[in-house]
């Protein structure tokens, strides 16, 4: 479904993404695991086409189509969506309207359903705004509900567990599973070796490269043993072992 070939991003002569190759299959939850600053979020942004940077090399294909020239909106309409690590707050936009527009004019019952899926009681949230009055955990759950409402073919979730309270975490994880059950492939970007165990397959990133790929639990363990104390973050090494 998603194929990334030799992706590169150089900024001021420095390789932020350094020849990255990755494939996410249909219906797969694919974990992208790495310490902070290794380039995971940059990959997520390059796939969605957001942010200030464009790839300086390589290709990104979605269902066989080179999406490099496409706008964010065009990529979304192909079935790609992104939930940001820190979702934007939009004053005056109600949760109801946000989920409705995310679900292409989804009806009220559908909107309520997506809120329930992330553990939020619709009566308490429909008329609230997607603004600063929501806690970080509430906002992230609503972001997940918005992505669920889109029913995307590929959901890119950037650090879905970061900055949320202990009560919200199970709902976030459940929401990701539900998303996958309703047919979405998921690119799960995280630095949390526990969260990534939701994935079918995991790649570990370091210094803009993938240095290890394998089954979730084994790769998570590998990451914990090899990367937690490694000083190689964003400083490309000749070889990793």
């Amino acid at each position: 479904m998603l194929v990334i070939e030799d992706l590169q991003l150089k900024l001021n002569g420095r390789a932020i993404i350094d020849g990255l190759n990755l494939r996410v299959g249909q219906g797969e939850i694919y974990g992208l695991l790495g310490e902070n600053g290794t380039g995971k979020t940059t990959v997520a942004y390059l796939v969605m086409g957001v942010g200030d940077n464009k790839p300086t090399g390589g290709k990104i294909f979605f269902e066989g189509q080179d999406i490099g020239p496409l706008s964010v909106s065009q990529r979304a309409r192909l079935g790609i969506s992104l939930a940001w690590q820190e979702p934007a707050r939009i004053e005056g936009l109600s949760v109801r309207d946000y989920l409705r527009l995310s679900g292409r004019d989804a009806d009220l019952e559908a909107v309520k359903h997506y809120l329930w899926m992330v553990g939020l009681e619709p009566g308490q949230y429909l008329d609230r705004d997607v603004d600063e009055t929501l806690s970080g955990g509430e906002r992230k759950r609503i972001e997940l509900a918005a992505v669920l409402a889109m029913r995307p073919k590929l959901a890119i979730l950037d650090e879905p567990d970061s900055g949320i309270d202990i009560i919200s975490l199970p709902f976030i994880l459940e929401g990701i599973s539900e998303m996958n059950k309703q047919g979405s492939s998921v690119l799960l970007v995280t630095h949390n070796e526990k969260v990534v165990e939701l994935a079918h397959r995991v790649s570990v990133m370091c210094a803009g490269k993938i240095i290890q790929t394998g089954p979730a639990v084994a790769t998570s363990l590998w990451f914990k043993e090899k990367c937690k104390k490694c000083p190689h973050v964003n400083e490309p090494e000749e070889e990793h072992s």
């Binding site: 909106s73 979304a76 969506s81 979702p87 939009i90 005056g92 527009l101 995310s102």
Partner: protein, 318 residues
């Protein structure tokens, strides 16, 4: 009661109101208290139990007295409609409001200038809110696309002990023209005041906002909020002032101005002053372009960029 000789004129203003997006029933329902003034002609003035409306036509407008009797809670919103339908005109409204102790009313004002090429609309209001009385005032403007309108609303509001004044002025449809807004509130003990202005400036619009809240009573609270969006060559200057002059007075000045394009200019001047050691007044002012992350968030949900910007602007001005 609608005078037969002005019935057609009344119908015309109702039509204009409806074309501007208003609900005509608000001006036609005889069970709703209302006041309709076209240029300097009072076309309809109907009070309600506990609500007295008196008017006097003047050379360029009207003098209005609106009294809410003590302890009366007016259930239905009271509708005021001020308009100038010709391309040119001057309308000067002198408004005196007395919401007596423990009263409660919600007033919805519609100001309609759909054809303005050279129109001036002035309002000079003197408002007193009694003890524990509550007064909600919403004023919505419907301007045409010519920009030949000058709107000059000025109000002095005294909110007595435990009273509440909440006002919103929205100028988001059509072209603003020139707006010179000046509202000043004086809050006594435990009184509450909230001043909100929302405006969408386009073309050559000029928006000048001056909001002042004096928190003179212990435990009084005030919020001066402005939401301005500017495009084209529009300019705005927003000055929000709050003065904490009594113990436990709490105030906040909150201004957001969004600028779209290269030629629009926004300026914000928040002023906060505290003369009592137990008062607290805060402010925040944000001026900038429309947040890229917000736009991309909505684009990632499938909206085109201009649709995303539209959603954000409508949200700010909602």
């Amino acid at each position: 009661m609608i005078n037969h000789s002005v019935e057609q004129e009344y119908q015309d203003i109702v039509e204009a109101y409806e074309k501007s997006g208003g609900d005509r029933h608000a001006l036609l329902d005889e069970n709703v208290a209302r006041l309709v003034i076209h240029e300097n002609r009072v076309l309809g003035a109907d009070g309600a139990e506990g609500l007295l409306i008196e008017t006097r036509e003047t050379q360029n407008g009207a003098d209005i007295s609106l009294v809410v009797e003590e302890g009366k809670k007016i259930k239905q919103p009271v509708h005021l409609c001020f308009g100038v339908l010709p391309e040119e005109g001057l309308q000067e409204i002198i408004l005196k409001v007395n919401a007596r102790d423990n009263s409660e009313v919600r007033v919805v004002a519609h100001c309609i200038f759909p054809n303005a090429v050279k129109v001036i609309h002035k309002m000079d209001a003197d408002i007193e809110i009694g003890r524990n009385a509550r007064f909600h005032y919403t004023e919505t403007h419907y301007h045409g696309e010519y920009g030949g309108i000058e709107v000059i609303p000025k109000a002095k509001i005294v909110v007595n002990e435990g009273g509440m004044w909440v006002s919103t002025l929205a100028l988001t449809q059509g072209v603003v023209g020139k707006l010179d807004y000046d509202f000043e509130v004086f809050c006594q003990e435990k009184a509450v005041a909230e001043l909100v202005i929302k405006a969408y400036g386009k073309k050559e619009d000029y928006i000048k906002v001056w909001e002042r809240i004096h928190l003179n009573g212990a435990g009084s609270r005030g919020l001066a909020r402005a939401r301005i969006v500017l495009t084209d060559k529009a300019r705005a200057e927003v000055q929000g002032e709050t003065y904490g002059n009594a113990p436990q007075a709490r105030g906040h000045v909150d201004c957001v101005e969004l600028v779209s394009g290269e030629q629009a200019v926004a300026r914000a001047i928040p002023i906060v002053e505290v003369t009592d050691g137990k008062a607290k007044v805060t402010h925040e002012a944000a001026i900038g372009s429309i947040d890229r992350r917000q736009v991309e968030t909505l684009m990632a949900r499938g909206l085109e960029e201009d649709e995303a910007v539209d959603v954000i602007v409508k949200g700010i001005l909602r």
